[in-house]
C-alpha cells in the first residue's frame, strides 16, 4: 500500500518540523553526497589503469580551487553524517534522553563546527596563499 498521493514527501518539506526533521533531511542528503563521491572515487582510482602519469596529471583537478571547494563539501557531508549519526545512536539507546533532544542537536552543531571549521580552513587556504 502506498502513501496517500505522490509527492507527499515533497509536500512534507512544508511541514514545520523542528531541529529533528531538518537534521534528518540533511543526514539523508549528506549520505547521498558521500555515496556520489564514492562513485567518482572508484572512477578516478580506476584511471590508474592508464598508467601512473595519466593518473597523476589528472590530480590537478583536486588541487584546483573548484576541486578544493568540492572537498570541503565532502568533508561537510562525511562529518555531518558521522556526528549526526552518533547523536541518533545515543538517543536510540537512551530513549529517556528525549527531553534533552533539542539541546543535543545544538551540542552536535558545536562539535561539528569545532572539527569542521579548522579542516575547512586548512583545505581552502592554498587557494589564497597560492601554495
Amino acid at each position: 500500500m502506498a502513501a496517500a498521493s505522490d509527492g507527499t514527501l515533497l509536500q512534507g518539506l512544508r511541514y514545520k518540523g523542528r531541529e529533528g526533521q531538518w537534521s534528518w533531511l540533511l543526514h539523508r542528503v549528506a549520505g547521498l553526497g558521500v555515496l556520489l563521491f564514492l562513485v567518482l572515487h572508484i572512477f578516478d582510482i580506476f584511471l590508474i589503469g592508464f598508467g601512473r602519469t595519466t593518473f597523476e596529471e589528472l590530480l590537478f583537478l583536486y588541487h584546483s580551487p573548484l576541486g578544493r571547494l568540492f572537498e570541503v563539501f565532502l568533508i561537510f557531508a562525511v562529518l555531518f553524517h558521522a556526528v549526526n549519526g552518533l547523536r541518533i545512536i545515543i538517543l536510540d539507546f537512551w530513549p529517556g534522553l528525549m527531553e534533552h533532544q533539542q539541546r543535543l542537536v545544538w551540542v552536535e552543531v558545536v562539535v561539528f563546527l569545532i572539527i569542521f571549521l579548522p579542516v575547512a580552513v586548512i583545505t581552502l587556504s592554498p587557494i589564497f596563499t597560492g601554495a
Binding site: 502506498a2 502513501a3 518540523g17 530513549p95
Partner: protein, 234 residues
Amino acid sequence: MTMRVHVKVRRFDPDTDQSPWWSEHDLDAEPSDRVLDVLNKIKWEQDGKLAYRRSCAHGICGSDAMRINGMNYLACKVLVKDLGSNITVEPLLGLPVIKDLIVDMELFFEHYRSIMPYLVNNDPVPTKERLQSPEEHERYDDTTKCILCAACTTSCPSFWATGDYLGPSAIVQAHRFIFDSRDQAAADRLDILNQSSGVWRCRTIYNCTSACPKEIKVTKAIGEVKKALLFNRF
C-alpha cells in the same frame, strides 16, 4: 479584544475539483477562540460547503487533527492568539483527502488494529479485578493517553514515504499493552513491530512528539519498544 484574522484553507472536492485550491476568509475572532471556532464561523457564516470533522470540541475524541500553520494540531485545542492573525489550515499529510480537511483514516486504523490493541490474558478470570501496583502502571501510563487523532503518524516523514509503516500511533498503542503487567501477548506484538513495517522505520526525528496534543512522549515510547526488541527484555 477582538482581532481580525486572515484564514487560508486548503480545499478539495473530488466531485468538482481537478486539484486542490485555497479559499481565503477574513473574519473577527477573539484571541481566546480556538481554530475550531474560526472554522465553525467560516462554515456557518461564509461558506457552508467547507468540510471538516469535529465532535467533542474538547480534545478528547481526536477527530479534528489537521495541519495548522504548517504543524499538526487539534483544531479544538490551539488558540488564535498563539497563531497570530494569519492562519493556514490544511488536511493531514500522508492520508488520502476525502474532502477539504477530511482525510480517509482507514489505513491509520488498519495499522492500529494490526498491533492487537486489547488486553490478552488467558488465565482464568479472577473474581475481583486483576491487580496491578502503581509502579507497574506507571510503566505505561503515558501511552494510555492516546486519543487516536493521527497527528503523530501523519507528521512522520517515514510515514509520508510509505504508508506501510505502522506509524508512531500504532507503536504507542502497542507500547501501552507490551508494558502492561496484566497482558500476555507482548511477544506477539513485538514480533509484529519487528517487521520491516514496524519500529525500525522510525528515524528518531521527533516530529511525532511535537505533534502529539496529549503530550505523550512518543519517540521515547518507540525507543523503549526498540530496546525491548534489541535486548529481548520487556
